[in-house]
Amino acid sequence: MKRPIIELENVQKYYGDYHALRGITTTIGEGEFFSLLGPSGCGKTTLLRTIAGFEDPSSGVLKIDGKDMDGVPANVRPTNMVFQSYAIFPHLTVEENVGFGLRRDPRSAADKARAVQEHLEMVGLKGYGKRAAHALSGGQRQRVALARALILKPKVLLLDEPLSALDKKMREQMQVELIRLQRQVGITFILVTHDQEEALVMSDRIAVMFEGQIAQLDDPETLYRLPKSRQVADFIGTMNFLPAQVLSETPDGFEVEVAGLGRAALTARQAPGRPTGDVAVGFRPETLTILYEGQQAADRESPGIVEEVVYYGDMTYYDVKLDGVAAPVRLSMRNVFGRPVLDRGTRTRVAWAPGALVLFR
């Protein structure tokens, strides 16, 4: 584990009767790209603003770089923030915006000007210094906000939904740039987002939050493949659920009977909650494959009927009703050349693997 830069211990926040943060305990490492992911109102922004110093926790301990932050106001914390609206000062130029935080810096004016130019270059805005801030596009404002925060050499950069105001293309471009920038400066980035794809693409670790609590904290792959609860599984990507029953506990896992799929042996890792009795089994659409004429399943297969076809160009989504199950399951197929798209009502076979299943309460 890297050296901890932010330590949260049972942090609680009340707004009157509203319990916004219900005991957050976690550690964020130095140089980590850490995301807070969750639906609106889950407390992720409150947590970010608490770290920044804009909100005081009602109780609990917050340490940044080993120092207790109780009573330390936002303007002296070693954190800087990129705001959702970017908060570019409209009456100042790009240069004045980027150099805003250097006002009390003892360096000479020339040194400061050089630092401003370096940071403009770093975010790809070389030559934009004299422009009026209000004449910038969304993506450019974003870059100014980044340069303005990074110029103060914070230990942690806080990003509050920084990409939500951009269009899809721009957003994807900025995702890549943010990752590059984070590697270049090497400091901790904490990103707040409600976009699961964004979090998966960018983060080293993701904390999924619901109702003021961290539901799961893991690296993107673990989070996607082995969600700890149905709530997390539902929030990140698509997951199919089928009713199942635990038949027995074996030395290295479980034996379950899944509706529509039959018996399967799962490892302990596939059941993070160790449920028993009536349970649900979940699996991602891409872990299922349609078997065409003459094809054989590598592992297991189950028969069904195509109920709905949704064509996406590069992909086709099928809703398939497996024999003996009322609700259809969704699966996705890449439209590789020569592979026909099936019609509704086609009888088919679906290949699956017990290793891709996750057991839920």
Binding site: D56, D70, G71, P73
Partner: protein, 293 residues
């Protein structure tokens, strides 16, 4: 402890109260306290040039038993109501026009044009109505010139009519602005929905636009009705003896007769009446809106 203080210093409520305190203290000292004193005066006894601290209802009894005061009070109410009705009725189509038929970038210009006369030299504007409505005034000479009348009209100056016309002119922008604001807030797709659901333009106006702009109309009514009742200049200049309003008697009691308790009692009576009527209006309006839902 230092931390607690620090937190208190940063709390929302404390910051807000500290900030608002200078104007609030000013308003308490120079508005709330004087109004309280006015109320108090109205129950004290006039001792000719001094005020005696003897509690009495006599001022109110005097005011309301004096036929002159009673006439003027009722006249003021009547004038205010008439002015309010005329102003709001005339203003609504203008507000509607600016909100619905003027290009968005021109709206500010229209509002500016509408508000300018309101800010400019109230006294002189009132005086000019005298010129317009007078015996040899603009209106009479115009009508005579056109041959529409044979001799000058005399019923338009130095009476209640003149007061109503002049006040309706003075308070016009006050009525237009709130209605305009309410109309602007109406989501235009609601009107399209109304028409899409088969209503005619007129019925859409009646069932959608008007109810949604009611808040603006109510604001316009109150913002015109309440101040007009206390207008002094207009009745003084164009009202003549039979156009006197309550402000003129208050002025008389205060500055000419130096009878503060009597003046205060009249002022308080007028304010109580205005407040009561405004509340009644609000209540009826709420009933009306609820009845429609």
């Amino acid at each position: 402890m230092a931390n607690r203080l620090h937190r208190l210093g940063r709390s929302e409520a404390a910051n807000g109260l500290v900030l608002v305190s200078p104007p609030a203290i000013f308003a308490v000292l120079l508005l709330a306290a004087p109004l309280g004193l006015l109320f108090l005066y109205s129950f004290l006894t006039d001792g000719y040039l001094t005020i005696l601290w003897e509690f009495t209802f006599q001022n109110y009894r005097d005011a309301w038993s004096d036929p002159l005061v009673r006439t003027v009070m009722l006249r003021s109410l009547g004038v205010s109501m008439m002015v309010t009705a005329i102003t709001v009725l005339l203003a609504f189509p203008v507000a509607y026009f600016v909100s619905f038929h003027v290009r968005p970038d021109r709206k500010s210009l229209w509002l500016f044009l509408i508000t300018i006369p309101f800010w400019t030299s109230y006294l002189i504007r009132v005086f000019l109505w005298k010129v317009i409505l007078g015996y040899n005034g603009v209106l009479n000479s115009g009508l005579l010139g056109l041959g529409l009348i044979d001799e000058p009209l005399t019923f338009i100056l130095y009476n209640v009519n003149a007061v109503v016309i002049t006040l309706a002119h003075a308070y016009a922008p006050f009525a237009i602005l709130p209605i305009f604001v309410a109309l602007e807030k109406i989501d235009r797709s609601l009107l399209e929905a109304g028409r899409d659901l088969g209503e005619s333009d007129l019925m859409t106006f009646w069932r959608v636009t008007l109810p949604l702009s009611m808040s603006g109309v109510v604001a316009a009514v109150l913002i015109v009705f309440i101040p007009t009742i206390g207008d002094y200049v207009t009745p003084q200049l164009v009202g003549g003896p039979e156009g006197r309003m309550v402000a003129n008697i208050i002025h008389l009691q205060y500055l000419r007769l130096d009878n503060y308790p009597a003046g205060s009692a009249i002022a308080v009576s007028a304010m109580v009446m205005v407040t009561a009527i405004s509340l009644l209006f609000l209540f009826l309006n709420r009933r009306f809106l609820r009845g429609r839902k």
